[in-house]
């Protein structure tokens, strides 16, 4: 049955099953979970809420996926969110219109990303350390912009981005969905995704074979900064103010978690955007589920810790080799259509990409 599924779908199957299980648990504790109602021209319900509230982590996860695929990591996204939220708020407070504010904030995000990329690609600093600098200093910079207060604003246009709705769906959801689809098309319908994976597997080898690795690395950090900027605008618009201390606090960890749950290896070299987005939704479903169930929200962290542990065990080389040994069936020879699971997964992905790449 497995091999009748589309390869892309089969790859994110474990994540989909996890999401369904989590949602199932939510229905058990809260029977009205799937109830969606329409009021004031907008849909309401727990599911809509998950799609809406999960927007910041989903957006960060898009950029983080690409960064992790190059064997990097971006710890600064939370601080970049704070900076960009502050820039947008300061811009509208200074009297400029929404478009200018958004463009300024997005530019600030890209500049932060370029700085990270410059440190990683040009100065050859380890990604964890390079992005740590902005993580530490970034909130200070955001405070500098807001001048130490929570900068509130009443600009309708900007608030619309955080809490408005379009076609009965909340704006944050539409933004992350649009961003995700756009990024997926750009990286998977061109050679870009393949090149990013090549850089993640071996930067030197791909540079020698003509890939401009350093340019790609700077680009993925810039995209990550752009995603963080968008998330920062949404968060600021949602609370109608820029809070330099708390906006995006620890969201970088949630984003990394979403990417890891999504099946992207932290060791770089392969990535799945859809998986990361589902991972973000899994995290948000757990959050919402715990809130609905009446459990104290404190259990959230413990559950997250155990999820990471389970994923680590599944992804670990030892368990992988055991699974690989178990899946070496005697009918290997007569089933030539089905490549062996695990070992050749990368080859299959690569060939799937090549099909996608063909003009």
């Amino acid at each position: 049955m497995m091999n009748r599924l589309h390869p892309a779908l089969r790859r994110i199957l474990p994540q989909l099953i996890t999401l369904v299980v989590v949602l199932g648990c939510n229905v058990l504790v809260f029977p009205d979970f799937f109830k969606i109602e329409m009021s004031n021209g907008r849909l309401y319900g727990s599911i809509i809420d998950i799609l809406n509230r999960g927007a910041p982590v989903a957006l960060l996860a898009i950029g983080m996926t690409l960064v992790i695929a190059t064997k990097g990591i971006d710890l600064s996204v939370g601080a970049v969110m704070a900076i960009c939220g502050a820039v947008a708020a300061a811009a509208v407070a200074g009297g400029s219109d929404v478009a200018t504010a958004v463009v300024l904030a997005l530019c600030a995000g890209i500049v932060c990303g370029l700085w990270n990329g410059f440190l990683v690609a040009v100065l050859n600093i380890q990604p964890i350390v390079a992005t740590l600098i902005l993580m530490v200093a970034g909130r200070g910079v955001a405070q500098l912009i807001t001048e130490g207060v929570i900068l509130t604003f009443t600009n309708e246009g900007l608030i619309f981005l955080g809490s408005g709705s379009l076609m009965a769906l909340p704006m944050p959801f539409l933004i992350w969905l649009g961003f995700g689809v756009m990024t997926a098309i750009v990286v998977r319908k061109t050679a870009l995704g393949l090149l990013i994976e090549a850089v993640g597997i071996n930067l030197r080898a791909s540079t020698l074979s003509g890939v401009r690795g350093n340019v790609l690395i700077v680009a993925v950090y810039a995209i990550s900064g752009l995603c963080a900027a968008t998330a920062g605008i949404i968060v600021a618009a949602d609370i109608k103010g820029a809070d330099a201390n708390n906006a995006g606090l620890w969201l970088e960890l949630d984003a990394i978690l979403a990417v890891v749950i999504g099946g992207t290896s932290l060791l770089g070299g392969r990535f799945t955007l859809a998986g990361s987005l589902i991972g973000a939704m899994i995290i948000q479903s757990i959050n919402t589920g715990i809130l609905l169930s009446g459990f104290p929200p404190e259990f959230n962290l413990i559950i997250k810790a155990f999820i990471i542990l389970v994923i680590l065990i599944i992804q670990s080389p030892i368990v992988q080799s055991v699974l690989f040994a178990m899946r070496m069936p005697p009918d290997l020879s007569n089933d030539d259509a089905e490549p062996v699971e695990g070992g050749s997964a990368r080859d299959r992905d690569a060939s799937a990409q090549k099909e996608g790449m063909a003009p």
């Binding site: 200070g140 130490g148 413990i302």
Partner: protein
């Protein structure tokens, strides 16, 4: 001169320069009282940073220490409030738990061959979550023994006080120096950071060293939690958020290479003191906001990382 000493010397030079600058503006900065407070206020960070230095020397990272500090604090506060146990036995229990917690993370990192970053991230969530489960409110610690401990200090000339927790930090640093530079375990740690295959070939017990290093970091985080509870006289599950980042920053500013294999314990102490000095300066000044601390620390981090890159570049060219 051995280029290995250069980052350490740079750290010391920056510390002296910064102190001289502060002194020229506020002559009181050199009083024993300020120095004593500098040690007391940064004791918990210093202790945690020593554990972190060992982990970073092996090329790893430990993100869980802030949460472990909070957990230890809440654990102590809850036990003291609800049982009649003596604080010393509670301390022993807390240290045992935090050490086992660290050892467990080390074991997972070694057996599952997973990046320390994500394993200790899980540890961070778990420890913080357990602290929340114990109590979400700040629990005051009112025990006679705590009052006795807080009254232990040496008076130094000039009305300065060397408190017990300041002394604990200094002792920890000395133990760290001896452990890192004078024992077999220390050389294993450096060897591991120098490169895993080479360490294996030299006969370094990789599994034992990895587990021990994270256990040591857990122990130091536990000790830091005890010191923190003495410092604040309370246990709060939201305390010490982000201490792991401060510790990493202190280690890097102290001249330890984040890729592992090179660095000095004493550098970490100076790194912690530099960060404390920035805060003290901002308090003395009174007009600057505290967020300047973050920006200055970020700038210092950048400077030191750049310096290290330069050194690596120079030494690798010298070999050719």
């Amino acid at each position: 001169m051995n280029p290995r000493y250069l980052p350490l010397l740079a750290t010391i030079a920056i510390f002296i320069l910064a102190y001289a600058l502060c002194y020229s503006q506020y002559p009181n900065m050199l009083s024993t009282r300020v120095v004593g407070n500098l040690l007391t206020d940064n004791a918990y960070l210093g202790i945690a940073a020593i554990g972190m230095t060992f982990v970073i020397l092996t090329g790893g990272i430990d993100l869980s220490i802030g949460s472990v500090i909070a957990f230890t604090g809440v654990f102590i506060a809850v036990l003291l409030a609800n049982t009649s146990m003596h604080p010393l036995s509670v301390f022993a229990l807390a240290l045992l738990i935090s050490t086992c917690f660290g050892a467990l993370m080390g074991g997972i990192i070694h057996t599952l061959e997973m990046p320390p970053f994500i394993v200790t991230l899980a540890g961070m969530f778990l420890a913080r979550g357990m602290a929340f489960v114990l109590s979400t409110e700040s629990i005051p610690i009112t025990h006679d023994f705590y009052d006795t401990l807080q009254d232990v200090f040496f008076r130094v000339p000039g009305k300065g006080r060397l408190t017990l927790i300041g002394i604990i930090m200094i002792v920890t640093v000395i133990v760290g120096v001896v452990l890192a530079h004078r024992t077999r375990f220390g050389s294993y740690v450096y060897a591991l950071g120098g490169g895993l295959p080479a360490a294996k070939l030299m006969g370094v017990p990789v599994a034992r060293t990895t587990v021990c290093v994270y256990a040591l970091s857990g122990f130091m985080a536990g000790l830091s939690g005890i010191v923190f509870s003495m410092y604040t006289s309370a246990g709060y599950s939201l305390a010490a958020v982000g201490v792991e980042l401060d510790a990493i920053a202190a280690v890097v500013i102290g001249g330890t290479l984040l890729t592992g294999g090179s660095g000095f314990m004493i550098g970490t102490l100076i790194g912690v003191l530099i960060m404390g000095l920035i805060q003290t300066y901002i308090i003395f000044d009174g007009t600057l906001s505290s967020w300047w601390t973050k920006i200055v620390i970020g700038g210092l981090l950048f400077t030191f990382i750049l310096l290290q890159r330069g050194l690596v570049w120079v030494t690798s060219r010298a070999r050719i």
